[in-house]
């Protein structure tokens, strides 16, 4: 199963991902509609980008009193059925990462559904901070980065 992996060290806060999520999911560029969020802290010169991790033990899935959330067999994402969601907001309270968002016009929630297996945010990430990769490969990605950095330390210039 694939998930969106975020290499925070590459993110420069262009917010193309937020715009893509909003555009393909809801139309237009509305940051508040995006299921991926880029938080920029100028004081700390730091950027934190986060989207739903489609947790194995999903707090949102557990709590929903409307049976509106389910696990997609195709993508393993936790997806919402807007017809069943009443907008009670219990899932917003349950997610420890604050990854569930509220659509005021429809009075339902919105969350990352991996765009049914073709996540748009990844396609619009020019620096390559977002990847859509097999879960098993994520540690390997990190491993490669660590290995390259280690290699660099060990090389001695003649």
């Amino acid at each position: 199963m694939k998930i969106i992996s975020i290499e925070l060290d590459r993110c420069i806060g262009c917010r193309n991902c937020e715009q893509a999520c909003s555009l393909y999911g809801r139309g237009g560029f509305h940051r508040e509609d995006s299921s991926i969020r880029v938080n920029i802290y100028p004081g700390e010169r730091f950027i934190s980008t986060l989207t739903c991790t489609q947790c194995d033990a999903a707090a949102c899935l557990d709590i929903c009193p409307a049976g509106a959330l389910r696990r997609s067999a195709e993508t393993n994402a936790v997806v919402v059925d807007e017809n069943r969601c009443v907008g009670c907001k219990m899932c917003l309270m349950a997610c420890p990462f604050g990854n569930i968002h509220f659509l005021a016009d429809k009075h339902v929630i919105r969350k990352c559904d991996l765009c049914d297996g073709d996540p748009k945010c990844v396609k619009f990430c020019m620096p390559g901070a977002l990847h859509y990769v097999e879960v098993e490969d994520v540690p390997q990605l990190r491993r490669l980065i660590v290995d390259s950095k280690l290699m660099r330390c060990l090389v001695i210039e003649p």
């Binding site: 060290d9 590459r10 420069i12 262009c14 020019m126 620096p127």
Partner: protein, 700 residues
């Protein structure tokens, strides 16, 4: 559905066509998805090395532009009451040719010029214009490069004979960005920088503002505008005093090192600190990082260094740093790229026309000699009758100088004085509104041209994706006009674009058919390194030049001497703040893309960025209306109070390209870098005052 959309015909009814994007100059590979005869989506081409399947929103919005409800579809002529009337293409072209012939008779050919904008491109599109105007008998080719690119090109070419627009970031150990926000201005480059960092490379960002790329910098040096030369010299001094530079390279392949090293000594840590505002420890840290990263150190300069009174020299000094690092033409450094060896369309050999005195060539000989570029700011004087001879007619293609050239009031006056102003455009821009004739132009999706990624020795043939009847591609326009003026047979004999492409490719042995099989680009030549070991640099002496005898011959100092910006050397109490301009917005490109509705949600309006301390001092709150005044003019605009780390106290920033709040009302056209002629855009002394919000009607 807009009229344009209804008329447009895609090359296939359903399917995916691959081409290159030209929404900016990165030329990323695109997949154009076509459903039932219209473009339904645009995504990134996986196989193209420029972007590897990723795309930005500007690229995706190409279809929005092509189908835009306000797209120009018919030629327009200005009629006596000041409005535009639709006329036929033939009528438009006949009248334009007639008027050009008239100007030639009344004044001489050189009274007419052409002006090519960024929107078009820099390959054969540019060459069509250059060819045309010389064939007409005028040397007056103008372009956006009077204020972009050439400063860097000349700065580097004076030193090492070449400029590489995309050095080998991926393999570098240290990347130093000078006044350049690459993720916004050149998005694919950021991926290369990120790749390098993932392998342990370090990043230094030098800029007055906390730009996006600075969030990833190991050292962020928030420097005072226009003082980068002092920093560069300070680093030079450090490297030379420490003895940490490429001695062999300097000894064997350079000249002028002695006077260069002597001059460097004057850049003491105290002086550099005072001049740049950077703590001396920061400067030492950068120098140490350079030492550690050698030789795979890349120094990359952006517009941030060009748009100053001493831009070229500051850039030259940075280029010299590259030599000291030993990074010249190496992997992970600054490769000396080679061309494809195809034909050129320009006529500089056949019809040099130097005796016709190209506008600005006397004042800025280096600009003309290096780039055959006439000087747009000088042209304004010529248009207003204050030049050496009259400039009465102008054909502008893909440019919007009324918004993007400095001193906009003067630009508007100059254009208003022309007998003939022809504008080729997709939309009714501020410049188009002043035209006598407007011709609807083909977008990049309607043209098939050769494009180069010279850093990769790659040539790609773009695909014509759709056809909008009544709208001409670039070649067709120039050809049709040339034929009416009597030099079409000789200089524009090809029937169509594709025939031109073939002609351009012929000597290389690469065929159009071959290129069609490689939408991901075709490598025309392997990349090699350290070519200077076997052949001279393309400088006057063949050496890497710390000092330039060529410049000396023209009356300039031979060393890239540092001259402080005027706000430091001649501070004016009437203008106590420093305005920098042109900071990039990801979704906008100069004056383009504000007509895409969703983009305006993200970038709604022009604003002047101000430090919170300054805001407090001048009684300004976020979103207040203010008036910003320079020696040149004044502007009413809304204020944006930044985070205290995002901008320096005493510094303001306004992004250009907004017609309702045009910062070029404030910028200098007549304060220029003496070598490139580039205008002072990024260190303009100004003052600010809070005002009442203007009447809504004034906002148009």
């Amino acid at each position: 559905m807009s009229a344009g959309e209804a008329m447009a015909k895609t090359v296939v009814r359903n399917g995916t066509v691959q081409t290159l994007c030209r929404q900016c100059d990165m030329r990323c590979g695109q997949n154009i998805h076509i459903t039932e005869g219209r473009i339904s989506d645009i995504s990134g081409m996986d196989a193209h090395p420029q972007n590897r399947g990723r795309i930005c929103h500007k690229g995706r919005a190409a279809a929005d532009l092509v189908y835009h409800g306000e797209r120009l579809l018919k030629p327009l002529k200005k009629i006596p009451d000041g409005t535009f009337a639709e006329i036929s293409y033939d009528q438009a072209m006949d009248e334009i040719a007639e008027k050009m012939a008239g100007l030639k008779t009344a004044f001489e050919s050189r009274a007419v010029g052409v002006w090519k904008g960024e929107a078009l491109g820099f390959c054969q599109q540019e060459e069509y214009a250059r060819r045309f105007i010389h064939a007409f008998g005028s040397p007056n080719y103008f372009s956006n490069d009077s204020e972009c690119y050439n400063g860097r090109y000349i700065g580097y070419a004076l030193v090492q004979g070449y400029w590489n627009g995309c050095p080998d970031f991926e393999n570098a150990d240290l990347i130093v960005l000078w006044g350049s926000n690459l993720p916004f201005s050149h998005p694919p480059f950021q991926r290369l920088i990120a790749d390098a960092r993932a392998k342990g490379a370090k990043l230094v960002v030098i800029d007055p503002r906390l730009i996006a790329v600075a969030y990833k910098a190991d050292i962020f040096a928030q420097i005072l505008p226009g003082t980068d030369g002092a920093l560069a010299w300070g680093l030079v001094r450090y490297l030379i005093e420490a003895g940490r530079y490429d001695h062999q390279f300097v000894q064997k392949y350079s000249l002028g090192f002695e006077p260069f090293a002597r001059y460097a000594r004057t850049f003491t840590p105290e002086y550099v600190e005072k001049e740049t505002g950077l703590d001396r420890k920061t400067v030492v840290d950068i120098a140490r990082m350079i030492v550690q990263g050698m030789p795979r150190v890349i120094h990359y300069v952006g517009n941030g260094l060009e748009h100053h009174e001493n831009g070229v020299n500051n850039i030259r000094t940075v280029a010299c740093l590259g030599g000291l690092c030993g990074a010249v033409d190496i992997k992970g450094g600054d490769p000396w790229t080679e061309g494809m060896g195809g034909r050129t369309l320009t006529l500089y050999q056949e019809l040099p026309l130097l005796d016709q005195k190209p506008v600005g060539a006397d004042k800025y000989p280096v600009l003309y000699q290096y780039r055959q570029e006439c000087h747009t700011m000088t042209a304004m004087d010529y248009m207003l009758g204050k030049g050496e001879y009259p400039l009465r007619g102008l054909i502008i293609t893909g440019a919007n100088p009324v918004l993007t050239n400095p001193n906009s009031s003067k630009v508007a006056d100059a254009f208003a004085a022309l007998d003939l102003l022809v504008v080729r455009e997709l939309f009714l821009t501020e410049t188009a509104k002043q035209a006598h004739y407007i011709l609807p132009a083909a977008s990049f999706l309607e043209r098939s041209e050769l494009h180069f990624h010279s850093n990769r020795h790659l040539v790609t043939l773009t695909t014509k994706v759709l056809d909008v009847p009544g709208v001409q591609d670039e070649y067709t326009f120039w050809k049709d006009l040339a034929h009416r003026l009597g030099f079409g047979e000789r200089y524009f004999p090809w029937e169509r674009e594709e025939d031109v492409n073939r002609w351009l490719l012929e000597p290389t042995g690469i065929s159009v058919e071959e290129l069609r099989k490689h939408p991901e680009g075709f490598m025309y030549k392997p990349v090699t390194y350290k070519k200077y070991e076997n052949r001279p640099f393309s400088t006057a002496t063949g050496k890497f030049e710390f000092t330039s005898s060529y410049l000396k011959g023209l009356g300039y100092p031979e060393l890239p001497e540092y001259i402080p910006p005027r706000y430091k050397s001649h501070p004016s109490p009437a203008y106590p703040l420093i305005l920098t301009t042109g900071a990039r917005k990801y979704l906008l490109y100069h004056s383009r893309y504000r007509n895409i509705a969703r983009f305006l949600t993200a970038v709604p309006a022009a604003e002047v960025e101000i430090h919170p301390e300054d805001a407090k001092k001048w009684g300004i709150e976020d979103a207040d209306w203010v008036k910003v005044t320079s020696e040149v003019g004044s502007l009413e605009i809304q204020a944006k109070v930044m985070h205290e780390r995002e901008i320096l106290p005493g510094v303001l920033q306004i992004t250009h390209g907004w017609d309702k709040a045009n910062v070029n009302l404030l910028t200098y056209d007549a304060v220029n870098d003496p070598i490139s002629g580039f205008p002072l855009l990024k260190a303009v002394p100004v003052r600010i005052e809070r005002i009442d919000p203007p009447e809504l009607s004034n906002l148009g």
